[in-house]
């Protein structure tokens, strides 16, 4: 067999921080991100296959939790345990389903990098491949899950005879902003989460508090203006992108367009910083994992 290869890439591993030349580092990160899209896809397909090979209900597990959450909330609301109504023109169950699904998508994007790296421990400690691949693979998986959930949402909207307007064409952009925002937070948390279990333990609690501070079940207009709670909700970065995603999807009048664009801009800048940080942090994490 011929074992010669024409490939003669030179790699240099040095003690100096790669951050001394941030542009060069950034270029290599984007080259790796682009170069590993096929690998990321292969890994995502592998995980999705493995996930459903050991399950009878399969894809149903993607839609059952939000469905039952919605049923529960609706029971509470019908019996006046919850005083939420949601806005005019949209039935409460549809409103809850859309809001809680969008929140769930944000949280899965936030958890994504941590989950991906934890389950990739085996290859991370043994093969040197672009670590960003795992992040991209996780995003592919999230997109897959999200599209299954969107089918449920669209069926529900049609069931309640809610016809989205032309703004639905902008929904993918808003959803993208929501997922990237979650991913950015996730990337910042991941290296520390891989060292200290405390981060993973705290995440459900933080997620719960964060959800309370986000208009997932209620409308921003329902809040008494000027109160401390309303102010916190307003400055919560998830608020505008989640609200506008819901509005695009359900055909409600659009609010928050400027703040959403602002959040999107900050997210993109934040993501670049997050990727730089990720690149320099990962070798140290891998070293502590197995030394």
């Amino acid at each position: 067999m011929s074992l010669k290869s024409g490939h003669s890439e030179v790699r240099v591993y040095e003690a100096q921080s790669a951050l001394r030349e941030p542009l060069k580092l950034l270029r290599s990160i984007f080259r790796d991100l682009f170069g590993s899209r096929q690998l990321a896809f292969t890994l995502a397909v592998r995980d999705v296959k493995a996930q459903y090979r050991q399950s009878i209900l399969g894809l149903a597990w993607m839609v059952l939790p939000p469905l039952f959450f919605t049923v529960g909330m609706t029971v509470l609301q019908r019996n006046n345990v919850l005083s939420l109504k949601g806005p005019e023109g949209i039935p409460f169950p549809a409103y809850v389903l859309v809001g809680s699904s969008l929140w769930q998508m944000f949280m899965s994007a936030l958890n994504g990098p941590i989950t991906a790296l934890m389950s990739g421990k085996g290859i991370l400690t043994r093969v040197n491949f672009p670590r960003e691949t795992l992040l991209v693979a996780e995003l592919y998986k999230i997109l897959f899950n999200v599209s299954v959930q969107l089918v449920l949402i669209l069926v529900t909207l049609l069931w309640f005879r809610i016809i989205p307007g032309a703004t639905i064409l902008l929904f993918p952009l808003a959803l993208g902003a929501l997922l990237l925002l979650g991913t950015m937070f996730g990337i910042f948390l991941a290296p520390i989460a891989l060292l200290y279990k405390d981060v993973s333990n705290a995440l459900p609690i933080v997620g719960y508090i964060w959800m309370v501070l986000t208009p997932v079940l209620m409308s921003v207009n329902d809040l008494a203006p000027g109160g401390l709670y309303a102010t916190v909700v307003r400055f919560n970065p998830v608020t505008p992108v989640l609200v506008i995603s819901r509005e695009f999807l359900t055909g409600l009048p659009v609010t928050h367009q400027y703040s959403s664009l602002g959040v999107l801009g900050c997210t993109l800048v934040g993501l670049i910083i997050a990727l730089l940080y990720f690149r320099v942090a990962m070798p140290m994490v891998i070293e502590r994992w197995s030394s």
């Binding site: 240099v12 292969t42 093969v127 060292l195 070798p283 140290m284 070293e287 030394s291």
Partner: protein
């Protein structure tokens, strides 16, 4: 059973047909790996290690230079100031006691962790065999895992499609290709992992103690493939404790102890030094190892001692079939009445362990068998047809001593380790006795006993 014959062979003749282990790459060979002043700091205390990790990440993230040459509490140097170069086609054995930093060095060379001080340059595709089948998903089938594993090692889908059949053929697990990998035995997983890794056609292979898995036949196949790969310009670095294995495949060696570089250079010298340190006081072992180095005199030398079967030089023999032992020698002066003593040694069954006894299983002397040779100056080949080979399955080496007219040893050489496998099971046998079974047409008659 064995007969010694001498074949005059005038003119030049290449050593052996296999891979030339004395291959000495000149300076014109391309440097594929360069390690300069490499040091690595580790922490013994887990809690502190995690804390230092967070501190280091924070320092890097704000762009502060890492502090060099400085140990914090509970830290130590896992590697200290290591420098060496590896050229194309060289094969380097990395030796050292447990905990001397071999694995750490391999992990830095493969780019998994960063040096604390110093620099590492690698050129070309690097395939780490630090753990076979990293990235195998137990739920998925072998077929699916080949795609995932080779993709992780850096191949595109089209390249994997191209090489898929070769990978399967080499691993010899066609029959289980569509079963989930969790049902594979560890040997099968190792076969698949090794096959995936070598078919990425790397320029540099890093092999950390993974050759010890799999059955002996597959290990031999791995060794053969590694030798072939080296002949076509692949460089490897191998960590293994078995000197005999390293000497079979490596021409250079690097010896480290407690993180410091002790010596680098020709494999035989460095491994000798390592074993001398390892067995200080164990004179016997040193004595045994000394034999490994061919000894020659002013009048006579042996260039190779090799086995042949089916007309090829081989290290994989089949018991029960004809084979031959070949001694390539050259007389520097006129040597009257040269004769040979051949000792057959059976190696410990686990050839990856050192320190176990080898046993003498047979010995023949040509002068006792009235075979002495008059050798004119020049090259000669002495051949011993073995019809058939009767060795029980196992690993063997022969030590050949050449003696002159006064019974003084004028040269000595040890063959490479060879493995014999039996086609007919003879596990409980000390040797294979050639035989046949027949039902005799005329039965015995009463009263004959």
């Amino acid at each position: 059973m064995s007969r010694i014959e001498v074949i005059e062979e005038p003119g030049d003749h290449a050593l052996g047909a296999g891979v030339d282990l004395n291959f000495k790459p000149g300076d014109e060979q391309e440097v594929l790996m360069e390690v300069e002043g490499l040091s690595k700091r580790f922490c013994r205390d887990l809690k502190k290690s995690l804390l230092y990790g967070v501190v280091d990440i924070a320092r890097e993230a704000v762009g502060l230079e890492p502090r060099k040459d400085w140990l914090r509490k509970s830290e130590f140097w896992a590697l200290r100031d290591i420098s060496f170069k590896v050229r194309r086609g060289e094969s380097v054995g990395l030796v050292g006691k447990n905990g001397s930093g071999k694995t750490t060095l391999m992990r830095i060379l493969s780019g998994l962790i960063k040096p604390t001080v110093g620099r590492v340059m690698t050129k070309g595709r690097v395939a780490p065999l630090l753990a076979l089948g990293a990235g195998f998903n137990p739920i998925l089938t072998g077929r699916e895992n080949i795609y995932v594993n080779m993709a992780v090692l850096g191949l595109t889908r089209a390249e994997i499609d191209d090489r898929f059949d070769e990978v399967v053929k080499f691993s010899e697990i066609e029959y289980a290709l569509d079963a989930p990998v969790q049902n594979y035995s560890s040997g099968m997983t190792a076969r698949l992992g090794f096959s995936c890794a070598i078919h990425t056609r790397p320029d540099i292979l890093l092999i950390d103690e993974v050759l010890a898995v799999g059955d002996i036949q597959f290990r031999q196949k791995c060794m053969r493939t590694l030798n072939e790969m080296r002949a076509t310009g692949t460089t490897f670095i191998i960590v293994n404790h078995a000197a005999s294995l390293l000497l079979q495949v490596c021409n250079k060696a690097v010896y480290i102890n407690t993180g410091k570089l002790i010596s680098t250079g020709e494999a035989e010298d460095v491994i000798d030094e390592y074993e001398t340190d390892l067995f200080k006081g164990g004179a016997e072992l040193q004595q045994a190892r000394k034999v490994d180095k061919p000894i020659s005199s002013d009048s006579f030398a042996m260039d190779a001692v090799e086995f042949e079967q089916n007309g090829d030089t081989t290290r994989d023999l089949r018991t029960g079939r004809p084979a031959a032992l070949r001694i390539d020698c050259h007389a520097k002066t006129k040597c009257p009445r040269v004769h040979f003593t051949i000792k057959w040694l059976r190696l410990p069954s686990e050839q990856f362990m050192t320190g176990m006894e080898e046993t003498l299983v047979a010995q023949f002397s040509s002068n006792v068998e009235k075979a002495e040779f008059w050798m004119e100056p020049g090259k000669h080949t002495v051949r011993l047809p073995l019809n058939p080979l009767v060795l029980a399955p196992g690993s063997y080496q022969v030590v050949v001593d050449a003696l002159d007219i006064d019974d003084a040893v004028i040269a000595s050489r040890r063959s490479p380790a060879v493995t014999s496998l039996a086609e007919i099971p003879c596990r409980h046998s000390a040797f294979y006795q050639p035989h046949t079974w027949e039902l005799v047409a005329e039965p015995y008659q009463a009263g004959m006993h």
